[in-house]
Symmetry: C2
Subunit: 620 residues, 2 copies
């Protein structure tokens, strides 16, 4: 990942079309992408052992249609006849126009993994090991220890960390000059005694505001070896990003403590997954991390205040090179950390990871991606064009501001249906309900709207109308104090002791869903499409994944589409983090997303308020 942010770079690079024969895949990629990357990002395997440095000369492809100039390395790899016939090295062939490319069958089938939302990732980790049997130095051959190690690794231009040199001399001599070089991207991070080439691991982190997940990956097999999650230890400073940023603004020592708590969380998880899989922390040579921008800045000790105050400015869209140590993660002491770049203060690395994992910018279909939460991120588009925005939905979906709201834990009502004049509840843990989580809230409102107890404006209908239309449910609509509530579960005769939905809860949800709906409505306008043109809606995040598709449609959270088109995408941020750990090619893809996706700021828009008010009501 480059550190540079080039403010002069074009915002919307032209796309070109790559058609691959004989498999017949077709993809659109930004002009300037190599044929190798374009194929790799789309799950089409091309032979290579050097990792795209132009030295192994295995990635031979034939350009059947379109022009790719002959490069310096092409002239060495092919005969003049072959060059005239369009043969090129895929890793050096820059696609600046539409191309048709013939990919010869692979000599050896590369390892691959299915991750994200049906993404086929070819295993090409940034972590590489090379076993070396070196000749001992003599008075006639006094090359430095470092030169001796680097000489046989001539397909890389390696940078070297000082820490490697500290012990290099002793290691080489104790290991009788038989050592394994550990390379991550373009850095030599260690030289280990003996042949350790079959041991290389990485940890992919999903650093959420609420939950943090770590996955230990075996980079030799592409298999996850252990997964652990825990609550973010920053919780005492507030449930959402705004309260955590506020804490740093009120107390100058809070940033240091929040950073420390993030480090503790990440490191405890790292030690747990290593222990579970019997992997030494020193064998984990890289970590990848997808988090929202506030979590990322807090974890790196970067002042988050500008994120929270208009005009909402990130410190950097692409982080400078950082290490696992910068995140307090005690794996290999020189392990780098690959951090997802951010599109903006509220469309952060977690969403870029989600876009990568869902293939939103690579798919021909128009798809809508929504990560539902306090701050909801929305992206819409296809390989042609993707636009994205953030909608401040408020805490309704986290159930934090809901009177009987609770996290999705034992005792939470997670699903509600009304059938034959009776309520049917599904409760997590199959125990007596004590509250409702976000999906329960959406279901409750959705069902009450469907049967007419809540009207389209969001108001409970008069008691008399309920008594007439739904006599069996009339006793559930009562008053607690001055407020009308609908009791979902009675505990004795006092409604205040039960689980209930208040008029105010309904309003909270209306504001939240209107905010999100305004987001995708404006994005549809940007693309010039109608919501009915959307092929698929991907609901991401721990909340989105549990949402009932029909309820989401009924309250107007998502466009009115067949429920089969509305799918739970799961923890896509975590999947994206795994993808870039398994393939350094996928990080070029992640970086490309910064250029490919246009950020649309809602706050500044004249049409926002009009659309929002239109969308407050529930759909007919």
């Amino acid at each position: 990942m480059s550190v540079m942010e080039d403010p002069t770079a074009e915002q919307t690079p032209a796309r070109v079309r790559l058609r691959f024969r004989p498999e017949g895949g077709e993809v659109r990629v930004p002009a300037g992408t190599t044929v190798f990357d374009g194929a790799s990002w789309n799950g089409i395997a091309i032979d290579s052992t050097c990792g795209g440095h132009g030295t192994c000369k295995k990635c031979r492809v034939q350009i059947l249609d379109g022009t790719v100039p002959v490069g310096r390395l092409d002239s060495r790899a092919f005969t003049p006849d072959e060059l005239r016939d369009g043969w090129r090295l895929a890793c050096r062939a820059i696609a600046n126009e539409d191309l048709e490319v013939d990919v010869p069958p692979m000599q050896t089938r590369p390892k691959a993994a299915l991750v994200g939302v049906g993404r086929h990732v070819i295993l090409r980790p940034a972590v590489i090991k090379r076993y070396l049997e070196l000749t001992e130095p003599t008075m006639e051959d006094q090359a430095s220890d470092l030169e001796r190690v680097l000489a046989p690794i001539d397909d890389f231009e390696l940078k070297v960390d000082l820490g490697v040199l500290r012990t290099l001399g002793g290691t080489l001599r104790a290991a009788d000059w038989k050592v394994t070089a550990v390379i991550v991207d373009d850095r030599l991070i260690d030289v280990e005694p003996g042949d350790t080439t079959d041991r290389r691991f990485a940890i992919a982190f999903d650093l959420g505001t609420t939950t943090v997940v770590a996955t230990l990956l075996d980079l030799a097999t592409a298999q996850p070896l252990a997964v652990r999650s825990m609550l973010n230890k920053q919780q005492p400073y507030g449930a959402d990003v705004i309260s955590r940023v506020s804490a740093t603004m009120m107390d100058p020592t809070a940033l240091g403590r929040l950073t420390g708590l993030a480090h503790e969380t990440l490191n405890e998880l790292a030690q747990e997954v290593c222990e579970a899989a019997e992997v030494a922390p020193g064998e984990v040579y890289e970590m990848t991390l997808a988090g929202n921008q506030t979590m990322t800045q807090l974890a790196l000790g970067i002042d988050p205040e500008p994120l929270s105050i208009a005009p909402f400015i990130v410190a950097a869209r692409t982080m400078p090179p950082v290490t696992a140590a910068d995140f307090g993660v005690q794996i290999h002491p020189r392990a780098p950390a690959e951090v997802f770049p951010a599109l903006g203060a509220y469309v952060g690395g977690d969403i870029v990871a989600g876009i990568l994992a869902t293939g939103l910018t690579r798919d021909k279909r128009i798809r809508l991606f929504i990560d539902v939460g306090t701050n909801s991120e929305i992206a819409l588009g296809s390989a042609e064009r993707v636009v994205a925005t953030a909608a401040p939905a408020g805490p309704a979906f986290e159930a934090a501001s809901i009177r009987c709201g609770m996290r999705a834990a034992d005792g939470a009502i997670e699903s509600i249906t009304i059938a034959d004049g009776a309520l049917k509840l599904e409760v997590i843990g199959d125990c007596e309900p004590v509250g409702m989580c976000g999906s329960g809230l959406v279901d409750a409102v959705s069902e009450l709207v469907r049967v007419g107890i809540i009207d389209r404006s969001g108001r409970f209908i008069p008691d008399a109308d309920v008594a007439e239309q739904h006599p069996s449910l009339a006793r559930n609509l009562v008053k607690i104090g001055e407020e009308r509530v609908f009791v979902l579960h009675w505990r004795g005769d006092d409604p205040a002791q039960g689980v209930f939905l208040t008029q105010r809860d309904v309003r909270e949800l209306q504001f939240a869903k209107a905010s999100i709906a305004t987001g995708w409505t404006i994005l549809c306008g940007e693309l010039g499409i109608d919501p009915s043109d959307i092929s698929q809606v991907l609901l991401a995040g721990s909340f989105g994944s549990y949402l009932t598709a029909s309820s989401a449609v009924r309250i107007g959270l998502v466009p009115k589409l067949a429920t089969t088109r509305i799918v739970a995408a799961g923890n896509v941020a975590g999947e994206g983090a795994k993808m870039v750990a398994l393939s350094h090619r996928e990080r070029s893809a992640a970086d490309a997303i910064l250029e490919e996706v246009e950020y649309v700021e809602l706050s500044g828009r004249a049409d926002f308020n009009d659309a929002f008010i239109d969308l407050l009501a529930f759909p007919g």
Copy 2:
């Protein structure tokens, strides 16, 4: 400085000749050098404000003879007529053949300093400051804080340290978007509030085995503001490099302690020079360091054992990028440290600095450079070709193994002459002598050889012969125990209470000078020249600088040349460290020395022992 060590690089790149008009200077540089660098290394000033990035377009020169292809930036800077007339940007004009170049007079005379041995260094420090008045972000302009700072610095491709981001947001807002960017080479290391462009400093260190010297430099004026020196705190682990390396081999915790002591020494000096000049340590943005390879590896915590055991292998000839913090020096927390590269285990960064400071590889005259010490480094040549070696002279010159030897401190005899049958002593501090330092030893032996009391083989002549030839000195040649000694200063009647020279002392000096003389004799053979072809002998180091030229000739330490040709070069390692702090162009020159100077290993040579035995005797 590049981290890469390319073992395939040619050892002896071709040289080309650059003639500059109208000043008429002529230099030879390695092919591939830019005209700008070639001029700069030789003290010829060419206009430039961008530091050679091809953006200021001020370094306009006209190629009068020879060919330089038209570059991309040349086409933008010049009209077709001008290009045909040979106009080029000097910073982009690569000299691959002999060239004659017209340099237009400077618009503004650049600051320069005279350092090293008459080296004219044009002030172009790697530390650059840019004052920026930025526009505040708005909802319409949500560029990241980092993008906003980098946008106006478009003539650099800057890398950014994580530490900069940690406080960037707060600094920009507190300073009302008026800030100063601090750049060192290609790194943005800080963003400071307000305009601080007139405050920028660096510290140049000479890290000696015995003495460490720090010079604080004002990079705005090229002036040294303060100089301090102290004994290397590693002294308790032994006076020479071998005993310090041995300490690390006998005790696994010693390396850590030696590293810590080096850090203490360097940091105390840094704080002292800052205090003396009233400069805040945080305003010192870079340090440079010249040290022998053992001192450098110990200071960086790099296992030194392979340096001390045949075949004498360095960890790396060019160190990876390191920071002042890696040396324990508490100046700006992200200040880089520029470390001189080494030619070999015993021709280290101090000698490369010395070669830079003396201009050995740039001068047309054939010159001999000797850094006299326990390990003596010797370089010989001119701009045509330079060869170098290391001679293990033993501790005679440090006076450590000399019976009445002492450091050059109060009470040390530093000069001796015999005239009219009487001894004449010069004593440091003008007090009663208590011992002799290295230059006193050389003088004593030289004078006794001259008058014949020591014969050419190095033996005291028989008592009877002294009594006959030098009756006034006969009482000084006595026995202490079984050993014959020559008393230089009596303290009472017991010779053992005085200051005296032993037969064994003479032998020690003979071995030392023979070792050095063998070194330059073999180097003369390598170049195919006679010692009388040498135009100048440069004696470097604290010892070399105090040596009497005539004595050095008489004992055969240096070739038999007119004494006016034998000059004290002073602390050239420290001067080299200052040069690279003042000019980042000089570090390219230092890196080039690695390729320009051929290292000749003495230990492996068949002719070494023969030459050594021949040279043990004193010249006739």
